[in-house]
């Protein structure tokens, strides 16, 4: 959890650095330096357990893809991110993941639950098209219930319209 929050902060800083004019929040992140994350609860020093969420974060371009307002299409940037996730999933064939679908706060509650379902399934379907067994992927929509960014502005909303891949175990 700490790891994911840190990553989100790095994403936020990166976005400011490249300017907020892009329609998409940037998904490209340098791989986090393995084992340097504070708060690791691996219990064996700073080693990264293969197949863990920490390992996943360290080896994919991002754990999340972003969507335009009220959209759920997986575009070229998203595809690159999901390819990196698919490669990791192929290297860790026993790992299962949850795809969380999220929406920004500018939709009504029930509709946003449905929109989050669409987004999570769009990401799941793309991973499946890359050869990942869909039975390894479960989806859940959080609608607008769990924003990653708390502001009420376009920059925050862009980062909340997301599908996040979370490792749930082997």
């Amino acid at each position: 959890m700490t790891i994911r929050k840190t990553t989100a902060m790095i994403a936020a800083i990166t976005m400011l650095a490249v300017g907020a004019c892009s329609k998409k929040a940037p998904e490209t992140l340098p791989p986090a330096p393995a084992g340097t994350d504070a708060g690791s609860d691996s219990g064996i020093g700073n080693a990264v357990i293969p197949g863990s969420q920490q390992d996943f974060i360290a080896n994919v371009s991002s754990d999340r893809i972003y969507f335009d307002f009220d959209q759920y299409n997986v575009d070229a940037e998203d595809q690159a991110t999901l390819r990196s996730q698919a490669e990791w999933l192929q290297r860790n064939p026993n790992v299962r993941v949850t795809l969380e679908g999220h929406a920004d706060e500018r939709g009504t509650r029930d509709y946003n639950l449905a929109l989050g379902e669409r987004r999570a399934n769009a990401a799941k379907n793309y991973l499946a098209s890359l050869g990942i067994d869909p039975s390894r992927i479960q989806v859940i929509s959080y609608g607008k219930e769990r924003p990653a960014e708390l502001g009420s502005n376009e920059a925050a909303w862009a980062k909340n319209r997301r599908a996040v891949t979370v490792v749930i175990g082997q």
Binding site: D70, G107, T108, R109, D110, Y111, S141
Partner: protein
Amino acid sequence: MILRSYSLSLVLVLTSAPVLAQQTPTPTPPTAPAVTQTEPRETIEGQLSQDRTVIAIPALATPAVATVAGLRTDNLGRQIADVIAADLERSGLYAPLGPGSVRAITMPEVTAPRFADWKARNAENVVHGFVRASGTGGLIVGCYLYDTALGSELVRQGFEIQPGDWRRAAHKCADAIYSRLSGESPFFDSRIAYIAESGPKGNRTKQLAIMDSDGGNHKFITNGQALALSPRFSPDYKKIVYVSYLADRVRVFIYDVDSGTQKLVTESRNATFAPRWSPDGRQILFSMAVGGNTDIYRISAEGGTPVRLTTAPGIDVGGSFSPDGKKIVFESDRSGSQQLYTMNIDGSNQQRISFGGGRYATPEWSPRGDLIAFTRMGGGEFRIGVMTPSGGGVRMLTNSWQDEAPTWAPNGRVIQFFRTTPGREGKSSIWQVDLTGVNLRRLPTPRDGSDPSWGPIRP
């Protein structure tokens, strides 16, 4: 003589107590519409600040102070008058002079008001009443409404109640007064299910909670460990359908209020959400996402096989029955953006009814059948509005950053919704507005609040 007995120990009585024996007992049946009506107090252009009828509501008298179940009848007399005054004030139609601002009355005054005193306070009406021990462990509450200019009695009702139901007696009295003076159906004696919210915006705790229409008798039902969303009371108040994230899944549960147990509305591997009851409580609408595509289903409240009602690609979600149970209004983005549609309850005859600018969502059919309330999104704002069932006569009632999810009072004259404020510290709270759009108020809740759902008038 007991006129009728109700569940939940609320009994309308025509008591033979001496104070009532002075006059011919002619109680106003609580469900009958008022026949003779004073001039209409509420119009579309209604003005809150002017023309509010002044009603004096002194503390209810007690013939002999008694303590019943730890409650003193004299204290209750004041508390009941306070609740009646607060109800009438909240309706926006009346300017009550509650027990804090008028003198107390004696027991004989209950049936023989000193009208000159109340006229001197500019009160057009005065409410009198009494509280006494029933002798069987309960309470009897008398409720009278008088016209001070005519010196005439407009309402006379009595209720035999369990002591813990004293607030209901106050709401029933307020309902009788409101109905008699406004000509509208009653709505105070009703309950609300909603979601109590707390914690930071990024990780809100959301608990199912219930309360009376004025916020009284508040009770948390879930402990907040799993997100709870979009509750709806069954028409008999015995069950609540809602969405729970229990076990990290999105599913509709039917919660049994008396037993505190719950069951799934249907067994499915798919997410189920946006539940609604049919007016008779025998059917439940819900939405289900299958492979990212959301459609609306109908199922017996007892279980069985769900009937799929929509098949359009896209998001079909929500839904609200017409009060006759024959039609459903729902939202769909099949046209490219969220809009409102109606259909028959078998899914046939789907027709779009919203055509104005912006996106339309969360339709709720009025219990009177004449209007559909909705959330309209446009220009960066969410507003509450109403339209006719054919989509005409659109009127917006609120104007704020984000007002969402209307729910109707049982009389179809007042709408509750939740209002969210923007920003990192953004919070939600429950508000209500009448159909004039003028009488807009926040309903106090112990924590923040969202997703209100107003139930019917209690029997």
